[in-house]
């Protein structure tokens, strides 16, 4: 019962986080738009009667509607887009013994986790990795790379699939997929805005200089708002990434533990992670936007092997060593109890 309560709390927390994520995202875009409008309106408030006055906050309206559109799109099509971006294809009818085994293992884990069987995808990539995506358990997808199928034994594959099913059952997939869409959108927007500002900056300074010359310092409030607005634009992509990573790191430990419960075989998942960490080549098919969805960081060597504050904040996954040690700890406990019972 307590496990059910725990699961329910997890799902509820993920629903709540997903909702807040959407709200925060829209508020952020609204601020980017209306904040710009405000700064512009204050700057042009005392323009000469014939000059331009910024009255209609069309930037705010456009960016808020855009944000709503992005959220809707990430919700409706996020899972498809994530799968599409990795070039994955779906296993409809297993064609090889390896694929048959994967389908069987997923079916087993669906029974163990009490979740409907998800759709199964294969990513054509030599590097072993896996991820799950979807809005909820009913619409979830699990994807593994070809390298994973080739490298892992049956038990190890079961461990990895169990880990992904844990993400599905805890509703991590919803939060993670929304995040993937939004991190991508913010990165795009920041890039675009940066270009516009660099381009428009010259014109703006001329405008400011002219206004400043006439009024002796301009409107200080307008400058504060403008500074804040610029700061948000610069900081947003970094913050959104840190947020995505922080959320994902905690989920990994939990999914490992839940996978051990499903398979009753924590050592197999530990062995699988060991193999995944040994394959140090980056998973090329998986882009940065979807990195936090994967079982191990698809681009290791950038951060996951480094230590220190920066790695702590920016890495999408906890150090593999730590995860393996925890799983082995569970395995030893299990072996000990069996020795006592037998």
């Amino acid at each position: 019962m307590s496990e059910d309560a725990n699961l329910f709390a997890q799902q509820e927390a993920n629903r709540r986080r997903s909702n807040w994520l959407v709200v925060g995202f829209i508020i952020f875009f609204a601020w980017v738009g209306f904040g710009g409008d405000l700064a512009f309106a204050l700057l042009t408030a005392d323009a000469s009667p014939g000059g331009y006055r910024h009255v209609i906050p069309f930037m705010g309206l456009v960016s808020t509607v855009t944000a709503g559109g992005i959220c809707w799109y990430a919700w409706r099509h996020g899972p498809e887009r994530v799968l599409w971006s990795t070039g994955a294809w779906e296993i409809v009818e297993p064609a090889s013994p390896e694929q048959r085994q994967l389908v069987n293992v997923v079916e087993e884990m669906a029974i163990a986790s009490g979740v409907p069987k998800p759709r199964i995808w294969v990513v054509p990539d030599e590097d072993p990795n896996a991820f799950a995506t979807g809005r909820d358990a009913a619409s979830a997808s699990i994807a593994v790379t070809e390298g994973l199928l080739a490298a892992l034994s049956r038990d190890e594959l079961q461990g990895v699939v169990a880990h992904e099913m844990a993400h599905v059952r805890n509703l991590d997939v919803r939060l993670m997929t929304l995040l993937a869409g939004m991190v991508g959108a913010i990165a795009l927007m920041s890039d675009g805005m940066g270009r516009t500002l660099r381009f428009g900056g010259r014109g703006g300074s001329r405008l400011g200089g002219r206004g400043g010359g006439g009024k002796g310092g301009g409107n200080p409030l307008a400058l504060v708002v403008l500074a804040l607005w610029l700061l948000t634009l610069i900081v947003a992509p970094v913050v959104s990434r840190i947020l995505a990573m922080a959320v994902s790191r905690k989920r990994e430990f939990l999914a490992d533990a839940t996978a051990a419960q499903f398979t009753r075989n924590p050592m197999a998942l530990a062995a699988a992670l060991e193999k995944l960490s040994a394959a140090s080549a980056p998973t090329r098919s998986i882009t940065h936007g979807a990195a936090h969805l994967c079982i191990v960081d698809p681009s290791p060597g950038l951060l996951s092997s480094r230590e220190g504050f920066l790695a702590d904040v920016l890495a999408s996954h906890p150090p593999l060593r730590q995860r393996i040690i925890r799983l082995e700890g569970m395995g030893y406990q299990q072996a000990k109890r069996q020795a006592v019972a037998g």
């Binding site: 013994p97 079916e107 430990f253 839940t258 419960q261 499903f262 299990q334 069996q338």
Partner: protein, 190 residues
């Protein structure tokens, strides 16, 4: 005044009886449903075994007794009824199959036979599925049993025709036990 109090108390009791009754029936259906999940996998397992026996028969002619043991264990499992009988028969079938697979290791032409490998994979998978479905069944059945044996639901257990569901006991000691997991995120397990 007292009539109103009486009516309110009566209404509360009636509502409770309805709720408790429905709760018991829902749990009973869950138990039946969980059992069906096991049953589906067992049927599949029973269907796979004749294929396997036919495939390996030619190569393993002189291991007749092992093959016969698998077939008779399978037939016993097919005709088993009730949770306890089924559990025992399936356990024996698992052991007979284990011996058969151990023997196939000695036959290189079987070890590399795609058909055998595929059947082995399917049987492993059905066995795992039975194992995981059994966990679910036992969990639900225990909930059902606890509910109907504890006060106050106990009072209407007869009305709902609730009888304790049999658990699928595991006789094999070597079966994997549940690992102890530490769900706290901050401290590593001791």
């Amino acid at each position: 005044m007292s009539t109103i109090v009486f009516l309110v108390v009566l209404a509360v009791i009636v509502l409770w009886v309805i709720g408790a009754y429905n709760g018991l029936i829902a749990l009973k259906n869950q138990v039946v449903n969980a059992w069906k999940q096991i049953d589906v996998q067992l049927k599949r397992r029973h269907d796979l075994i004749p294929n396997l026996v036919n495939t390996v028969k030619g190569a393993m002619d002189f291991e007749r007794s092992t093959l016969d043991a698998v077939i008779s264990a399978r037939n016993k499992a097919v005709s088993a009824t009730g949770v306890k009988d089924t559990a025992r028969a399936e356990g024996e079938l698992t052991q007979a199959l284990g011996r058969l697979f151990a023997l196939t290791e000695a036959y290189p032409e079987l070890k590399s036979n795609q058909n055998v490998l595929q059947l082995q994979e399917e049987l492993t998978s059905t066995e795992n599925k039975v194992g995981f479905a059994r966990q679910l069944y036992n969990d639900v059945a225990t909930q059902y049993n606890t509910k109907q044996a504890t006060f106050p639901t106990l009072l209407i257990a007869g009305l709902a025709k609730a009888t304790p569901a049999e658990l699928w006991e595991i006789e094999d000691v070597a079966e994997r036990s549940v690992p102890k997991v530490d769900l706290s995120l901050n401290k590593p397990p001791q």
